[in-house]
Amino acid sequence: MSEEMRDQLASEYVLGLLEGDALAEAERFIDEDSSFATLVEDWRRRMVELDVTAALQPPATDLWDRIETSLGVAKTAPANPRRQRAPRSGVTSRLWNSLPAWRGVGLAASAAALVMAIGIGVLMRENARTPVMVAVLLSDQNQPAAIVNAFGDGRTELVPLTAITAPEGKSLQVWTLWDRARGPVSVGLMDAMHSLDLSVQNLPRTTTDQLFEVTLEPAGGSPTGRPTGPILMKGNASLAL
């Protein structure tokens, strides 16, 4: 192949124009022929200026959490990494974010903390008392195992009806699915069933028939970012009357 043809192949590869055999050939050359790899690198460097013209699109707030979940079992991440990151709005945000600090201030302050915590609870209830959508999650025995309530302000909570604790080395992971093309999205992680605000910030509002489920996953969450373990409970959302 002439040098000009090799460069042609490299340029069409970088533009994404190759398909089938030509694509396979170019990929093989990149791996096996460092001078061809250099031609490809040169074209990438020439063209990447066009990538810089793309509009900035802020990613969904849970995208980083999903990436981190996919990196494998979290070694350093806290059991509920969302709490450290997912920003909440307004006054509750500042109070909420100070929760970890409360833990450190010792016994004397814990009573005050309790009062504040109750205050937040009242505030949240005041905000949106009645769920708009409700999903009853049934176990494989068809027994109600948990309820998901989605409120008018977007807040979505999971309320357990059955006590389940994950065995050693496992976690319980909550998923939702509203669009098969996107696939299930992780919205919560815990070691034992407890009331939990689900991480649905920036997901579309819960809709009728949207699926919620809890699966058993390796500790720290599914390594693939998709459910891998058995489904412990699942249910579809319905409009609350």
């Binding site: 460097r45 020439r46 013209t53 699109q57 669009d179 093309a181």
Partner: protein, 188 residues
């Protein structure tokens, strides 16, 4: 090596250091790449895939890949940003050409011809005035320049370009070859 992306506040030395951090297993390094690049990456993937959910999935996969492959990044062979965007584009093209093809067709056609020609022009206008790519693209005949820009930014194939611009496939292919050759000579 010229710093192609320097005007976008992406000092390559920082990105390169962050990749070295990823290779050591430092998640904060990956996070710093995410904070600085993710919005642009979603933008690039959106141009190709047109759907936010697919674009974010591609960005997700790209960061997982960066984490896994960071040790194989060699600063001597190219800039860190180029390396990262190459992974992103590769993944986006796979989605575009493969698994989501049928899903995309419906969204794809109605946005068709009317929007595209000014789009290519606007894309060129958005390039840095001092950059070699803009200077060299501007030496090309507008329609021959547009096919390069549309192929790269929207991931269009020869066939799609032919269909949308109503130009015979053989003509598109030969224009593409000659335009790329001119571009290379200009940018060498």
């Amino acid at each position: 090596m010229s710093s192609t992306l320097s005007h976008t506040a992406l000092p390559d030395a920082d990105l390169s250091r962050a990749l070295q951090g990823c290779a050591r297993g430092d998640r904060a390094s990956l996070r710093s790449l995410y904070d600085r690049l993710a919005p642009r990456m979603v933008g690039v993937a959106m141009r190709m895939l047109r759907r936010r959910d697919l674009a974010e999935e591609v960005v997700h996969d790209t960061f997982v890949k960066i984490w896994e492959k960071a040790a194989s990044y060699d600063p001597a062979r190219g800039e860190a940003a180029t390396w990262i965007f190459a992974i992103l584009r590769h993944r986006a093209l796979n989605v575009l050409r493969g698994e989501a093809r049928t899903d995309l067709v419906d969204d794809f056609e109605p946005m068709g011809l009317t929007a595209d020609e000014p789009d290519a022009e606007a894309l060129v206008a958005a390039l840095s005035e001092s950059g070699a790519l803009r200077r060299c693209l501007e030496t090309l005949d507008p329609r021959r320049r547009d096919i390069i820009v549309l192929a790269y930014t929207h991931g269009l194939t020869h066939g799609e370009l032919a269909g949308r611009l109503r130009i015979p496939l053989g003509t598109i292919k030969s224009w593409m070859r000659r335009s790329l050759l001119s571009l290379r000579e200009c940018m060498a």
